[in-house]
Amino acid sequence: MADGGSLGPEARIFKLVRHTLRVSPAVDALGADQPLQDAGLKSLDMVTLMLAVEAEFDLEIPQREMTPENFHSVAAIGRLVSSLSAAGV
């Protein structure tokens, strides 16, 4: 796994979302379980985020895990990252 410093997965994912949205105030008000669309993420932002998650955590998301559910919220992405990391993907 890439060096993420002392930040936990969710904090790192929040950082990625902020980067994807180019620092939108909506992200700061976003809860970990809230739909990312609520923060204004559009469809291709989601693809950008998927690629960013792969790069940040140095993993390749299997096609079967590329589902709207797994990218629904920061918490969902965090769970996906944890399970993939545990599985050594």
Binding site: K42, S43, L44, D45, M46, V47, T48, M50, L51, Q63, M66, T67, P68, N70, F71
Partner: protein
């Protein structure tokens, strides 16, 4: 039919993100999406290609162009050149979305490219894009010396909707003599529903609904989409057209019209070389970050351009 693994993965990501290409997004969002896609999945192209941004006074006012000169280009030597029209459904795309592709084509072919920032619909419906495209080719021929281009080896090229523009320019009697036309996954008969439109009309990068919206934006009430200036495949006579390199993708809704055009050109006695890339999707050639096999494919296309410009022949 098996999708290329890179293409399959990208399509899967787009589908999971709900980016299947929903219509009714409006032109601004369409343009932003293509720009985003270019950034995250696009071909970056070699930095060794020199570029120069130019401006001409076109039929609709200032027209931006970008000249790509491969590194091996000697000084003041007239070079073969292709005037390039980007894709994007007549609505989206610009010099930057296709910058990496143009760089790679220039580097792999040794040929200069002149990319054209033609006017887009719906702000500028038909015939604005075609007028700009034709103007750009005539401008390139008229300024060949200043641009270090060989006017005797000037061609047109384009992808997707830009491929249709390239073919329409080649058919236009006002175009200068052209040595080559390169058509990448061209849209050549947008109003017709050939079998590939049905097979790959959803979930394969260009959605049926998005095409309908784009075509409506381009044609408006100004022109019947079956007009050969919009649908070059419907031109009555293709004799005398410039030699053609036609590249289609197997899993592309526009595959059949590209192949049909190549067949019609050949029947009309035109030298034509047509390649169908197995497992590939529309626009693959510009997506080398997302579809790794696209890079070598573009290099192979570049080698074909080089040979065609060197020998005048597109077939072995």
């Amino acid at each position: 039919m098996t999708l290329d693994p890179g293409a399959a993965r990208l399509l899967r990501m787009l589908a999971a993100a709900g980016a299947g290409g929903a219509a009714a997004e409006g032109p601004a969002e369409r343009r932003r999406r293509l720009q985003t896609l270019a950034r995250i999945a696009g071909e970056r192209g070699p930095a060794s290609v020199d570029t120069r941004d130019l401006q001409a006074t076109g039929p609709g006012g200032p027209l931006r162009l970008r000249l790509y000169a491969p590194a091996a280009d000697g000084p003041a030597l007239p070079r073969p050149a292709l005037v390039y029209f980007h894709g994007g459904g007549w609505v989206a795309g610009d010099l930057d979305t296709h910058d990496g592709l143009c760089r790679r084509l220039a580097a792999s072919s040794g040929v200069r490219l002149l990319a054209v920032d033609y006017r887009l619909a719906p702000e500028h419906p038909f015939p604005a894009a075609l007028d700009d495209a034709l103007f750009a080719v005539r401008w390139a021929a008229a300024n060949a010396q200043a641009l270090d281009l060989d006017p005797g080896r000037l061609g047109v090229a384009g992808d997707s909707a830009g491929g249709g523009l390239a073919a329409a320019v080649a058919q236009n009697p006002a175009a200068p003599p052209l040595a080559l036309q390169l058509l990448l996954c061209p849209i050549l008969d947008p109003a017709a529903e050939r079998p590939s439109r049905h097979a790959f009309g959803e979930g394969h990068f260009v959605e049926r609904a998005a095409l309908a919206e784009d075509l409506g934006a381009y044609c408006g009430d100004a022109v019947d989409p079956r007009d050969p200036r919009v649908s070059p495949l419907r031109a009555r006579d293709l004799a005398g057209q410039p030699p053609a390199l036609v590249h289609v993708a197997e899993c592309d809704p526009f595959r059949d019209e590209g192949e049909a055009y190549a067949e019609r050109l050949a029947l009309a006695g035109v030298a034509v070389h047509c390649v169908c890339w197995p497992g590939m999707v529309h626009y693959f050639y510009a997506l080398a970050q997302g579809v790794p096999a696209a890079g070598p494919a573009v290099d192979a296309i570049g080698a074909e351009i080089a040979r065609a410009m060197r020998t005048g022949a597109v077939v072995d």
